[in-house]
Amino acid sequence: MIRFEHVGLRYGVGPEVLSDIDFTLEPGSFHFLTGPSGAGKTSLMRLMYLGRKPTRGLITMFGKSINQMEREQLASIRQRIGVVFQEFRLLPHLSAFDNVALPLRIIGRPEKEVQNNVDELLEWVGLGDYKRALPPTLSGGQQQRVAIARAVIARPKLLLADEPTGNLDDEIGVRLMNLFDQLNRMGTTIVVATHSQHIMDQFGHPRLALSEGGLKVEEKKHWIQKKIEGVF
């Protein structure tokens, strides 16, 4: 699904934010991405959703190197990726409904299907009463739920969620993590960046741990081991 080889990223003339990142995500996998604030989680996600090109190294997505892809091909890859941005990035002049409907409309689904799917999903995330509301009139948690709904509406092959429950209370946070789990079981590859030890502990997925520009993949067994060691 995704393979990073010796990938490095720097912004402008600054230091390398990510260096020598090497990992492979199998289709249908579910990983947490963790690391202290400023470690580069969002930057790594940015590379994965093709929001930036790496300054060095090779990224292979959906079996093809992104350097060899045409502009149209990149667009069609992006259509298969759902992203929950850390800062939501909703279109402020579009209603919650239209925001969530956007991915379906971009890929040209019939309006009837759009209506049904979007209505259902908004109900499900608890925003049935806020379909016509504009994002600036929504609370932080409501906006975050719109952002999550928008990311999953088109059943993406790859879902990247950056701190998706930071503004949500535990109850609805767990509910949405369960939604991700469900999508994962239906074949979506998922990466969730999070600070919450609580959530990572509750859902025992393998972790990509970022620190000082480098990435360490901690498989499930590995960190359970660490946790047990910590407890005793």
């Binding site: 992006r78 279109l91 956007l102 971009i106 309006e111």
Partner: protein, 313 residues
């Protein structure tokens, strides 16, 4: 004035259920762009019709009044003594010959005694007998166009024959007037050009400024896999609607002002509009103007968006 078009736009907008992902139809600065385009079109209409009016004024003046002049071989020499009529006839022939070879001259006719008599009859009455009066030699000349160059050339030719020969252009001061209106006309065209250029810059700038506000939205759509065409289309369509509003308002305002000016200058024979209205080329140009403004707006928005998009991976 702009309010007029609001309702129509809303109707346009509802032809399909959802027009824009980017909130372009929200009014943050759109009215401003409309006003700008209206203003530019308005000024361009005025400058253009000013140019046209000057052009036809100049043409009429130089054709009606200016193309005729008289060359005079005075009856007395510069020292005061009289010339014989044979001498005068000789000079007149030379002048005629010189004029024949000049391509700027349409016709040159020597005035006979009868003509001269007619010329001075208001003062002297018809019954005067001119036989025993020493008459000057007069040649009435018609030019194709009277430009300063033709006239200077003519003066040189005459000086070669005799430096006592005078050229009477009837209205010498009109020549300098023509030079002024020529400069004015030149300026009007020049101003039209400047307005067109600044329209391009201003509209492109306006579109770019609106683009800057929506840069993040554009990037978001791009990240969601929207094609460049999908995004560009929205901006272009939006810019076009704004431009049409603005250009129409500006043209209409311009035409109203022209009609008012025409009304003020009224039934003056030298009025501006009567000539302008008749010329098909001018009418076409005036209609083309708003179209041109719209084209500029659409293209400016298209290329601005494409340039922003091309910077995204």
């Amino acid at each position: 004035m702009l309010g007029l078009f609001k309702k129509k736009d809303r109707r346009l907008g509802s032809s399909s259920k959802r027009q824009y992902d980017i909130p372009l139809n929200k009014n943050d600065g759109a009215d401003f762009l409309v006003l700008l385009i209206a203003l530019m079109t308005f000024l361009a209409v005025l400058a253009m019709s000013g140019s046209f009016a000057l052009s036809s004024m100049t043409k009429r003046w130089s054709s009606g009044l200016e193309n005729k002049l008289t060359i005079e071989i005075p009856a007395e020499k510069s020292d005061g003594s009289l010339r014989s009529s044979e001498q005068i006839k000789g000079f007149t022939d030379k002048v005629l010959k010189s004029l024949e070879g000049n391509p700027g001259i349409k016709s040159a006719v020597m005035l006979e005694k009868d003509d001269i008599q007619e010329l001075i009859s208001p003062w002297l009455g018809d019954d005067m007998v001119l036989d025993d009066i020493p008459l000057p030699g007069l040649v009435s000349v018609e030019l194709h166009v009277s430009t300063p160059e033709v006239l200077t050339g003519l003066a040189k030719d005459m000086a070669l024959i005799n430096d006592n020969i005078r050229i009477d252009t009837h209205e010498t001061w009109l020549l300098s007037l023509l030079r002024v209106t020529g400069a004015l006309q030149y300026s009007a065209s020049f101003i039209t050009l400047i307005i067109a250029l600044t329209t391009i810059i201003a509209v492109a700038g306006g579109v770019r400024a609106r683009m800057a506000i929506h840069r993040e939205d554009v990037e978001l759509l791009h990240l969601m896999g929207a094609s460049d065409g999908y995004i560009t289309k929205q901006f272009q369509r939006h810019a076009l609607i704004l431009a049409i509003k603005g250009a129409l308002a500006g043209t209409i305002a311009g035409i109203i002002i022209l009609l008012i000016i025409n009304g003020v200058s009224g039934d003056a024979e030298g009025g501006m509009l009567p000539d302008m209205n008749l010329n098909a080329v001018h009418i076409v140009a005036l209609i083309a103007l708003p179209g041109f403004a719209c084209l500029i707006a659409a293209l400016a928005s298209r290329f601005t968006v494409l340039r922003v998009l091309s910077a995204m991976p």
